[in-house]
Amino acid sequence: MSGPLLSVEGASKRFGGLLAVDGASFTVERGSITGLIGPNGAGKTTLFTLVAGFETLTAGTVCFKGDDLGRMPPHERAKRGITRTFQIVQPFAGLTVRENIAVGAHLRHAARGEALARAEAVAKRVGLGDRLDQPASGLTVAGRKRLELARALATEPTLLLLDEVLAGLNPSEVRDIVPVIREIRDGGVTILMVEHVMQAVMSLCDRVFVLAQGRIIAQGTPTEVTRDPAVVEAYLGHGAAARLASREVARG
């Protein structure tokens, strides 16, 4: 099949008086790791909820494998191959790690035994293999992030939406999980990730879109966008790019 796996066109989402996403357009190519970055409150999570079907678009379209998803509910999108994780982790607190992941595995495996076996395999992939029978409520922050990833992965998605799975992790935990994400992509899963940890974005993403105040203001390779004056301004405020540039001129 040709064309991008996901293409979002002119997506807008209004919450009362606030236009959280304002005519955003971007595409995700098959087999890529695409990054979505931007300052706090830019609308990244909102954009994810639109792609995953948790909120309906005020305007615009979301096309997956060339089909307009319209108002398709989240569970059907998951069946089609789009699975999201949550920025604020949402474990099934009363269940064990294995049971948590098995819920995801059940999407494509009706038999309980099969789902539990799949859960075990996925847990090992993300480094939760030794905590299978622990209650999810007992996991550390890093453990919960891995669980969020494992559950989503267990649905065998085509497109995985990762919303800040590295946030709240210490540098060594980040170093541990970055290769896991790369392996997931190498296993054939396309990834769209929202991330603030720039070191991870630089090392993982093939292409990055920058969202600020609901609009896509830049796109390109990670190196390109971090050099983009518009991006620097979005993060550091109006005139920042010019000030930085003049300082460099002064220094140089």
Binding site: F86, R112, L116
Partner: protein
């Protein structure tokens, strides 16, 4: 738990059932059998509540609406249309389940949760109670009698023991069914809905469908208790059928016994009824004493045994084995 083999999963249920089945052999005292039949009937109604409330996390305060529908349909089909008792009983279950589907569709589709859902179920039960009380077809306030004609083919037996065994059979069958559900995809989805609906949706669970299926099953089981009640007493009226007493008992026994567990409702029902009988024997018939007792028990259960008696026993068991360890 969910990984264990079928013997470990279903064996204990069958063992408990076999053990209980000996009771009529051990005693022929009608008061004891009578009290056990009532306990089993409440266990059945409570297991219905448990499917939706314990496993699905949707707390209903109006399971009387299903109990009453099962009871009235069983009674009226016989009394008004001369339908065979077993057919009427099956129809009662089906009707109760259907009321469940409709109630579920209406309330879950509009996104009702928590106390809002509880209040809507309560309101439904009250509306049904008032209607049943005022309609001539249901016998109005006088209620409906099923013609006494003690024959097995009429689902009427002279022996209490037979009713006891039938009630035990129903409770056992439903417990086996609930265990099967626990070990199925549907069970996993239902528990996921209880634990976190958004996460469940993200993982491809059609939460609305799962909740409607759960309330349908739940209602059918509680309706079976209603139908059985009619065959046992051969009488039903609006307050018995749709009164809050059964809504309360149905939610109380799984909470006391162990929410979202197969044995919870049975343990809770036996414990509560044992206690109620004991108080009656000691305190005599002070009006409302049983309700006061239930109220205090509920408070105690929630305060000290949030996982019910079953959880409490497991905790004590663990405590003892820890105590023995060096």
């Amino acid at each position: 738990m969910s990984r264990s083999g079928p013997v470990a999963a279903y064996g204990p249920i069958l063992a408990v059932a076999l053990l209980l089945a000996m009771l009529p052999v051990a005693t022929s005292a009608n008061t004891i059998l009578n009290s056990m039949v009532m306990a089993l009937l409440i266990a059945l109604a409570g297991q219905g509540w448990n499917i939706l409330g314990g496993y699905g996390g949707q707390f209903s305060f109006g399971h009387a609406v299903f109990f009453g529908t099962g009871a009235y349909v069983t009674a009226l089909l016989q009394a008004r249309f001369g339908v065979n008792a077993y057919v009427a009983f099956a129809a009662g279950i089906a009707a109760g389940a259907m009321v469940g589907t409709i109630l579920g569709y209406l309330s879950f589709r509009s996104g009702l949760r928590g106390s809002y859902f509880a209040l809507v179920t309560l309101a439904f039960a009250e509306v049904f109670r008032i209607l049943a009380n005022a309609t001539a077809f249901t016998g109005g306030a006088a209620g409906t009698l099923v013609k006494l004609d003690v024959r097995p083919e009429n689902f009427q037996f002279s022996s209490r023991a037979v009713f006891f065994w039938i009630a035990l059979g129903l409770v056992t069958a439903v417990m086996l069914g609930v265990r099967f559900m626990e070990r199925s995809r549907f069970g996993a989805w239902l528990v996921a809905v209880r634990e976190n609906e958004d996460a469940a949706r993200a993982l491809g669970v059609d939460t609305l469908k799962v909740k409607i299926q759960a309330i349908t099953l739940s209602a059918g089981v509680t309706a079976a208790a209603g139908g059985f009640y009619v065959q046992y007493f051969l009488f039903i009226d609006a307050n018995l059928a749709y009164g809050t007493w059964i809504s309360i008992e149905a939610l109380l026994v799984p909470i006391v016994g162990g929410l979202g567990t197969v044995f919870g409702p049975l343990i809770g029902a036996v414990a509560l009824h044992g206690l109620a009988e004991a108080t009656k024997a000691i305190a005599g018939r002070i009006p409302g004493i049983d309700l006061a007792l239930y109220g205090s028990l509920l408070v105690l259960a929630i305060a000290f045994a949030p996982n019910g008696l079953q959880g409490l026993m497991a905790k004590i068991g663990r405590g003892l084995s820890f105590g023995r360890a060096p």
